[in-house]
Subunit: 186 residues, 2 copies
DNA sequence: ATCGTTGGCTAACGCCATTAGCTTTTAGCT
DNA sequence: AGCTAAAAGCTAATGGCGTTAGCCAACGAT
């Protein structure tokens, strides 16, 4: 029988795709194997465990988010950059809820943990957004946490179907971006 | 052998306590049974399944949060109420991360689903906070979603250890409450 | 052509959720 | 007080999933 020609990246990609389709919690090793046309134990030649696979999905998601943010912020500043970052993050979570969910248990095991590296790149983009506002350097950390908390919370609740659909969620999101923009200018 | 004298509430309470101690994902039926001094299958006389147990934990947490909020908001308004609600929510999540995590998959199966009822009570308290500000009625929905997203996001990231500890998280939280207060006044 | 490495497979183990069916306690009724 | 029926516990068993061990075939380098 011919070989499947897998590698860690291919396994991670398949798992990430499944996570978006059926939810991260329902991504089973058997399901990933089936998707790849392989038997379950074969996966262990490429990833160490299910926990390892989840970490790889998280890194993939953080890298993708980081790239998307960097691209979206090209040449933008101030309110423009804020809106671009906000929409980019929300779109990513809506389109890839499973991948994104894998990033929630942020447990960097060290400073060179790939998850910490990829996470830091995302934070750099958020810092770039804040650079467009005149913020007391002592407050930038707080403003960063504000953005992280708000975007993460909104995306998570939206992905979980936590908002009543009788009022337009897009409209709320625009209102929210505007609210933050006004606040950061003061 | 004497009887254990369990009921759904006791099982739920034990499971919620374990969730706070070992994390919701690690709450196994066997662990709950052991905590209660009972064999695993006996639990099924009181709860239908593990999913049912998780929903009960979520309801418990939402009721507790709702009660805590209502009490904290007694006689307060405006910035005072906002700060009280914020601190109450954060404290609850820090002290009961496992219970709170059970509330994340918000899937109300109907308008009389206990999870929807308990959730609505929490939202009522948030609405009470906003009542202390002069907000265009058309914008209250957006402001509600702002508060939910922000508090939920902050608490979730904090509970996951997602904030670098080199800058005081308490200080960020105060800054954040102040930021929202100023914004809601404009 | 061959040899070692690599990637796939089958078989097997242990843990967990769940169900079936039995036994004993216990509350309510006479 | 004694009886009965439901409720609450137990043991045994099933099926799924993660993981490991050990075997064999494919493939790249010599």
């Amino acid at each position: 029988m011919p070989r499947a020609g897998l590698d860690p990246a291919a396994v991670t990609a398949a798992a990430a795709g499944l996570a978006d389709e059926v939810g991260l919690a329902n991504v089973t090793m058997g399901l990933v194997a089936e998707r790849l046309g392989v038997r379950t134990p074969s996966l262990y030649k490429h990833v160490a465990s299910q926990a390892d696979l989840n970490r790889r999905i998280a890194v993939l998601a953080l890298v993708e988010v980081g790239d998307a943010l960097r691209e979206a912020l090209q040449g933008r500043a101030g309110r423009d950059a804020l809106a671009a970052a906000a929409h980019t993050l929300r779109s990513y979570v809506v389109e890839h809820p499973g991948r994104y969910a894998a990033t929630l248990p942020l447990n960097p095991e060290g400073p060179d943990d790939p998850i910490a590296v990829a996470g830091a790149r995302v934070l750099d983009s958020l810092a770039a957004v804040l650079a467009g506002y005149a913020i007391d350097p002592a407050d930038t950390v707080h403003a960063m946490r504000l953005l992280r908390s708000l975007f993460h919370g909104f995306a998570t609740i939206e992905a979980a179907g936590g908002f009543e659909m009788d009022t337009d969620v897009d409209q709320s999101f625009e209102w929210l971006v505007d609210f933050i923009d006004r606040g950061l200018k003061a």
